[in-house]
Symmetry: C2
DNA sequence: TTATTAAACAATAAATATTATCATTCGTCA
DNA sequence: TGACGAATGATAATATTTATTGTTTAATAA
């Protein structure tokens, strides 16, 4: 899949307006620039990095606005979180390779042994020169408890 | 694989002493308790959670000591980081399902389309009642640049 | 277009997470 | 046992994220 083919600039921004409308979000200048900036960066950027870029076009924007809108975009599905695990360090006493089942609500992490999964197989080569250390599969969703409850326990 | 079968308590602590010795780490009371605590928790805990538990046995330990030792353990391979991506939020403008190639040194993230991988197949059921939302494969390693350099650029 | 209203904004403070500094204590090894 | 480097505890500093508040802006309808 060529992502660049599917989502052209214009389409993405059109889509953005559409989705804001559907989600009942006001279409502000800041919002559009923040979204377009993330979209153009294509590097899985941090809020800080986005802020730096956006500031070039909107010198008076505040970091808080960037954070708040990123969160809004994540909530409405306009953007995705690269690793729903983030927030604080999580350590694993099991040093053998294995995989994880993760609840995105309470952040519970359950192990899944290597052999509980068919081996992961690439159809292409990894980027030339990339030195692979490990491969982890993460299943994201809601644990039974969180699936039952209406919202955000923790 | 039953992890509990492989690594019995005693074995793990023995292994721990061995590895400390090999890595030239002093064997302190604090270290042993921190490690044993993480090992017993088996819940991919945060530094804060570990600190709370360890404090029950070592009321005078400081949070900084917990952090420093966790980092040491990660460096020496005694523990593993659940998500080498953590540290700060990373957002993705691509909302279609896809996978990632991640450099654990500079934290660069490169996309890998769904169809560049054989479909991931489970040999077992996910935990009963778990509502699966998405499945992400992450390939961790060193990007060409970081593989070439001796240490920690960023 | 203009008035009304709710939402979003910038500025700022506060909370949370993590790392650094340093004087003291402790483990290692001769 | 004694010297010495490493580790600890206390604390400060930094980084990341969220909350608060007064002001501005976008959406809606007259
Ligand atoms: Mn695990
Ligand atoms: Mn991506
Ligand atoms: Zn949950
Ligand atoms: Zn790299």
């Amino acid at each position: 899949m060529e992502f660049s083919a599917v989502d052209s600039e214009k389409f993405a921004v059109q889509e953005f307006r559409e989705r804001c409308r559907n989600a009942g979000l006001a279409l502000t200048h800041q919002r559009e620039i923040i979204f377009r900036t993330v979209y153009e960066m294509r590097s899985h950027p941090t809020p800080e990095a986005i802020y730096e870029r956006v500031r070039e076009q909107l010198p008076s924007i505040s970091l808080g606005t960037v954070y708040k809108n990123l969160k809004t975009f994540l909530d409405t599905g306009l953007l995705r979180e690269v690793s729903p695990m983030h927030g604080s360090l999580r350590v694993d006493a099991i040093t053998e390779d294995h995989h994880h089942v993760v609840c995105t609500q309470c952040r519970m992490v359950v192990d899944l042994g290597e052999e509980e999964l068919e081996p992961v197989r690439l159809r292409v080569q990894l980027p030339d020169g990339f030195v692979l250390k490990r491969c982890v599969v993460e299943f994201y969703g809601l644990c039974p408890r969180c699936a039952a409850k209406p919202d955000k326990p923790r």
